[in-house]
Symmetry: C2
Subunit: 119 residues, 2 copies
DNA sequence: CCACGAGATCGACGTCGATCAATCTCTTGT
DNA sequence: ACAAGAGATTGATCGACGTCGATCTCGTGG
């Protein structure tokens, strides 16, 4: 019987999560925090990773399902998944031998909201 | 009398602009194109640049207004403005000695729309 | 208890990008 | 026509990052 494990870094602090871009000049710290999360998705491989997971049945996929479509090695895929998880954009759940990853829609929505003009 | 000059790269092709992230797996080309534009804003200095311009009166600022608040050299600021302009996120207009930059809200909105889940 | 397999970590390598000083271009004012 | 100033470009430097092979960890099955 597969038991879920945390296994990943806890979600990063959400207290600085939603400072709007249009209201006032960002502080160096706010800009750094936002940039870290945007860098997580500003990579072609990670964008493809997200899109593949989102279009999989059950909205989840294990690492082994991703190496093939991406044409990348397993360590590289794990590296990218770790970055996405550190940014809170995906969560991984260990079920038996495999680790299944799901996208966190709220995290994506929050990122979109920050860069939306007039929002 | 100041005459406006193009002086910047034309806006990048908008034909691949809006492929949604959630509908289907992105191709390598689509992911690359999206990543280029996301990289433009995935930098703390450029995020601060955008926020400063957006919160300036008239929604515009010249390069000389930006070096001070950012604490960076003039060539570095020009470098970042060029990157933002190449991604179509800002446009520059030469007026006399100074070049004034404005944010392109539609470009920001398009970027936000792509990463919006369920969109 | 041991072999196998999935996934995470480590170390190394190559490339890209942020930054600056120096220089170049162009406009303004004298 | 010339000096001054704003901004863009160039070249160099240094750190960050993507990628891989090798190794490590851990759960599964015999």
């Amino acid at each position: 019987m597969p038991k879920p494990l945390p296994l990943l870094d806890p979600l990063p602090s959400a207290d600085v999560c939603c400072t709007p871009l249009t209201s006032a000049p960002l502080s160096a710290e706010q800009a750094e925090d936002l940039a870290v999360r945007l860098k997580a998705i500003a990579d072609p491989t990670r964008l493809r990773l997200l899109s593949i997971v989102l279009s999989s049945q059950g909205m989840e996929a294990c690492t082994c399902d991703l190496t093939g479509p991406l044409g990348l090695s397993q360590p590289t895929v794990s590296h990218h998944l770790k970055k996405l998880a550190a940014a809170g954009l995906v969560v991984g759940e260990r079920r038996g031998t495999w680790t299944y990853y799901r996208v966190v829609p709220d995290a994506l929505a929050a990122l979109a909201a920050v860069i939306t003009p007039g929002g």
